[in-house]
Symmetry: C2
């Protein structure tokens, strides 16, 4: 059977024209040959940011996202009343807190640096050492985490939420048909659904879609250096990271170059597998220019220095000042736009 | 000279029709006689909320407000990197933190409860005991306040701000022509200008403008009880407070009814004047239903109980459960709308 006999030509044409692939090909007519090579390589290794970060385990619904955003700002469910998700992930700083290590209830220091939660939900796991399976698991465990919200039990969190009529109604809407929707599991689902919508499309996405002018010449040089150096061996996917674990300091111990106060054994803490010693989840590089300080312990402030260290101890290449500067410039093309909705603070239900 | 000879009748009519007084009179045709009496009394004692809270000392300009909003969220100018204005005044909780007493840097407890900064800039002073002359003075002193931002000096704050190019440009725009615009004084002016725009018009304003239906029957009863009991003796002006100091516990010591851990000498701490013992600034009642816990020490959670205590120890009246409930209902008509701009989080300049 010939498909042409069954589908009118104009329908095929419409379908054809609507495909992203074709758009990229058409736009590429306007991009130079060098740009085109970079666009093609980038699209293959990374690919533009998707619209959301869905999962079968927690379908994204507007009601869940709405509730999740409120819960993201909720600090009355922490043991000292000061900790919300937004505390360590303030949107004003690209959802990262600017500290070396996050501070939770009663100013307790967390073991590692807060990563941004923008573009974060599609990683293989949550936390630097992968001791949380997903953003939902992270949210759930945070409320009872001793250096996080520090609540004594899940029940104590549920009791507070059930005490506010505004929340009861919102949980009912987000989890229809459930007899007791106000649970920490649903808290985690709602916060997770909200986080799964936090995308920040950036100039680099426009570039990958075929707009060669979306990056400056320096940024293109930086991208090329990033690829030629081999950084994308670990920092791949639309998130430029988050898809694997890697030993920090393949060729030399990281403490030789960072200002680390102590050496963290990384994923070994979770698996007790010798091969995981000093391994960390490869961080997402989206918005990296906006989220210092760097590394799992926030031990280095300057982006250029971070780039130099990584090339040196992971790949064995000593980048020049120009090369690190170019890569840093490329990283600024990963600084994306936060949606208006994510930038709007919700008003929390009244305590009654 | 007769004005009628010089001004055309239609001009006078236009002027006449545009005046708010007339609008109130016209609307009042649709309000019942009892409503009208309440509207008139309320308009005289309180009056609708103005558009902003201006001051000659710090003219409100868009550039200052824009910068002030960023600085309001800036936590990198605190000694432990966790304190911003927004920490004790999160918009999500009507610009109050929900704690008994505010917690500043390194979890230090502040001496008193955080008031909301919505509709707050037109008070006689800032802080419960009036030890700050204005919102600008409050902002300035907060950055070096030991339990607040805790910075060692104004210079240390200025150094951090001057280190971020994004801020330098914004200060230049907000304070044009100044040789060195990035100063803590200008920080305070910008934050103050932002705060002077934070108004939350509420159903009660519509009521005062002549819309009798803006309040429920219970809210009207509550308003009447509020007036008849004499609460407006202290809680007057469009802010329902903030215009005077008053002894807390005129007829009986407040500690008899609150759950205060210690007795605060109030404004006496500032003036050393015996007459100011236990005196506090009368708090603004706008959004009071959204900002528990109550009193200078956050020692009472429930609004009904607060109302009962105040009538008892300030005026010597024992209100019934219905009366306190009615006044609480009236207070909910003071819960206003926060502007979209105030609910949008700004993105802070990158640390370079």
């Amino acid at each position: 059977m010939n498909i042409r006999e069954r589908v009118p030509v104009h329908t095929m044409l419409r379908f054809f024209l609507s495909s992203v692939t074709v758009l990229v090909l058409v736009s590429s007519l306007f991009a130079g040959a060098e740009d085109q090579d970079l666009i093609t390589r980038s699209s293959q290794i990374f690919g533009p940011l998707p619209q959301t970060m869905p999962t079968e385990q927690n379908p994204i619904t507007p009601a869940k996202v709405k509730l999740g955003k409120l819960l993201f700002y909720e600090l009355r469910i922490s043991i000292d009343g000061t900790v919300s998700c937004a505390k360590c992930h303030p949107i004003s700083l690209y959802a990262e807190d600017g500290l070396k290590k996050a501070k939770g209830n009663n100013c307790k220091e967390n073991p590692r640096n807060s990563p941004t939660i923008l573009n974060a939900a599609a990683q293989i796991s949550a936390h630097w050492i992968g001791n949380r399976t997903s953003v939902e698991d992270q949210a759930k465990q945070a409320v009872v985490g001793p250096p996080a919200f520090g609540m004594p039990s899940y029940e104590s969190v549920e009791k507070i939420l059930r005490g506010m009529k505004g929340y009861v109604a919102l949980f009912q809407e987000a989890f229809p048909g459930e007899k007791e929707p106000v649970t920490v599991d649903n808290f985690a689902m709602a916060v997770g659904a909200f986080e799964r919508t936090l995308m920040t499309p950036a100039p680099f996405d426009d570039f990958m879609k075929g707009n060669g002018g979306a990056l400056t010449e320096q940024q293109k040089r930086g991208l090329k250096t990033f690829l030629d150096t081999g950084c994308m061996t670990c920092h791949f996917s639309p998130y430029l990271g988050g898809q694997m674990y890697q030993k920090f300091g393949i060729l030399e111990p990281y403490g030789k170059y960072t200002k680390s106060e102590k050496i963290d054994e990384g994923r070994f803490v979770v698996t007790k597998n010798e091969a995981d010693k000093y391994a960390f989840k490869v961080p997402v590089l989206r918005n990296v220019a906006m989220t210092p300080p760097y590394f799992h312990d926030g031990s280095v402030d300057k982006l250029d220095r971070v780039i130099w260290i990584m090339a040196k101890i992971q790949i064995g290449k000593e980048l020049s000042e120009q090369q690190t500067g170019d890569i840093a410039a490329f990283f600024r093309a990963l600084t994306g736009k936060i949606s208006e909705d994510a930038m709007t603070v919700p008003i929390l239900p009244a305590m009654e």
